[in-house]
């Protein structure tokens, strides 16, 4: 059930930090971040895509499936979930070269930066003071993800992941990736 924004804000203000960090806190649904757990799916998660949730209830090395969110399955290159536990440096939602991440998800492509979890990849902003583009094969996952998901107190893919709100920029990046795929499909 999606909470009205006002009710949600009140709940977040009143709830102690420990309570907000509890797994499957339904009060976090409707906070603009896609969360999985509790046997249901957050209305903030885009339907009809394979993008996994920002925070999941699944064990390490597993990801939830938004089409059947209570189910956890092995994470894999191309599922859109950057999972260092299985050797991924990036995951742009496919197993093809290009798009920011190599075909095996082992290396970030030159000129891109890729974030943690479901944040996908994007062109790295041009830095006037540093003309050299990032080298192919160098992972920027840690840099891109740092500081953008302050509410997460668990490593990617770990159990009990419904932590406090955060990671909104990552969610926007994931949304951008989804729109790119939809655009490609609609050609």
């Amino acid at each position: 059930m999606k909470l009205a924004p006002a009710s949600l804000s009140l709940l977040l203000l009143l709830a102690p930090a420990a309570a907000r960090a509890a797994p499957c806190d339904a009060a976090l649904f409707g906070d603009s971040v896609c969360d999985c757990g509790c046997g249901t799916v957050d209305p903030d998660c885009a339907q009809g895509t394979f993008t996994v949730c920002e925070r999941s209830h699944c064990a390490a090395g597993q990801v939830p499936w938004e089409h059947s969110p209570a189910s956890c399955m092995a994470s894999a290159c191309g599922d859109g979930w950057n999972d260092p536990a299985r050797g991924e440096s990036c995951d742009d939602g496919n197993a093809l070269a290009g798009g920011g991440c190599s075909a095996t998800c082992a290396a970030v492509s030159a000129g891109y930066e890729c974030g943690e979890r479901a944040s996908g990849c994007r062109l790295a902003p041009v830095d006037a003071g540093s003309p050299a583009a990032p080298d192919a094969g160098v992972s920027h996952a840690q840099d891109a993800g740092a500081g953008t998901d302050a509410g997460s107190d668990q490593p990617a893919g770990s159990a009990g992941g419904c932590a406090a709100a955060g990671g909104t920029p990552l969610a926007w990046a994931a949304l951008g990736w989804m729109l790119t795929r939809r655009s490609a499909r609609s050609r």
């Binding site: 394979f50 499936w65 059947s68 209570a70 399955m73 859109g80 939602g93 490609a184």
Partner: protein, 360 residues
């Protein structure tokens, strides 16, 4: 309208073959349904020839999330072909619809060789009874003329694909029945990157206009979702929405289901599997796709659990992997013809034989 020329072409082929070889032989199973070798799937009946790109694009979900649509469409080819003189939905009271059906899978080359993505599009083409009978006769006669030794088994690719002449003429027999105007249904089985989750959905086409398939027994839902995470170690399958038909099977295969099951539960699940395998009991109008596919997947585990599952057909070892939901195609590079499809093919072959004997 292309049916009349197609009918003339088929009739001419059958007559020519009959004139040169005597009476057309009785059809065997591989005359009415056959697997295409992976190496020939791309050239025999590629997606570009049998699945219009707009229909492919209209499918609700990507077949895979790991491929770009253009690459996926280019890799799609027919891996199996079926003729059916009377496809019914909803039991014996359903309308009899003669059809040709193809299963298309993405066939790709990896380091290990030629293989498939574990996804498929199933396309249904409308035909008349005479056209199906003509195609059956023509394929049986061609097989006889080319002196192909077909077994009654359908679990291996058709040996005719080693004969360039058979391949060319078989394609000529089938192609007129596979035009875009005849396409009446396209169903999909899309796979998650993990190869542990799938979506079943599809479209019915009326005069080229697509509409979502209403999946029986799933209420308002137009998608069926399956996860299978047990590999070869255990059976751990979820069906979502939970089926209202043959739900004893869905309960048994669910994570922890077998361990918690009583002997009565186990027998109920086995009875579900046997009903799902029987084409005279279930069809695509009486049970949802996901439950039907899961029946074959659960079979080995149910048999191993001690419940007797006598069946008139072989259950391929490819189904020892509980991720194998294939019905008539390839599980990666392993041919997979489910017990249900084996029985369907046998029933269709017998039906077509009787119809041919009655035909003037």
């Amino acid at each position: 309208m292309t049916r009349r020329p197609a009918l003339r072409s088929l009739a001419a082929s059958a007559l020519l073959l009959a004139a040169s070889c005597g009476p057309a032989p009785r059809p065997v199973n591989q005359d009415v349904a056959f697997l295409v070798p992976l190496a020939r799937a791309g050239e025999f009946l590629p997606a570009a020839a049998v699945l219009p790109r707009p229909v492919f694009d209209r499918l609700h979900h990507p077949l895979t999330v790991v491929d770009e649509p253009d690459a996926l469409y280019a890799a799609l080819g027919a891996v199996s072909v079926r003729l059916d003189g009377c496809f019914r939905e909803g039991g014996t009271g359903g309308t009899c619809r003669p059809q040709v059906r193809l299963v298309l899978q993405p066939v790709m080359t990896f380091e290990s060789g030629l293989t498939t993505r574990d996804a498929a599009v199933h396309v249904f083409f409308s035909a008349s009874e005479q056209e199906i009978l003509g195609a059956t006769s023509a394929l049986a006669a061609l097989r006889s003329e080319r002196k192909l030794n077909l077994s009654s088994e359908v679990e291996t690719p058709h040996p005719g694909f080693t004969d360039a002449e058979w391949t060319r003429r078989a394609k000529e027999i089938l192609a007129p029945l596979l035009t875009a105007s005849r396409l009446v249904r396209a169903t999909e089985m899309g796979v998650h990157a993990s190869n542990q989750a799938w979506i079943f959905a599809g479209l019915d086409l009326s005069s080229g206009v697509p509409a979502d398939i209403r999946i029986p027994t799933l209420g308002e839902h137009t998608d069926g979702h399956v996860t299978s995470t047990g590999g070869t170690e255990r059976t751990e399958i979820t069906l979502d929405p939970f089926p209202t038909v043959e739900s004893a099977l869905a309960r048994w295969v669910a994570p922890g289901g077998a361990a918690a099951a009583t002997e009565e539960d186990r027998r109920a699940a086995a009875a579900s599997v046997l009903r799902l395998e029987d084409p005279s009991v279930h069809d695509s109008g009486t049970v949802d796709c996901a439950t039907c596919h899961a029946g074959s997947t659960a079979r080995h585990a149910l048999a191993a659990s001690g419940t007797g599952l006598a069946s008139p057909v072989q259950v391929p070892d490819a189904y020892l992997d509980t991720r194998n939901l294939r019905a008539f195609g390839y599980f990666f590079d392993k041919p997979s013809v489910s017990p249900r499809v084996q029985r369907e093919i046998e029933a269709v072959r017998m039906d077509l034989t009787q119809r041919l004997e009655k035909a003037p």
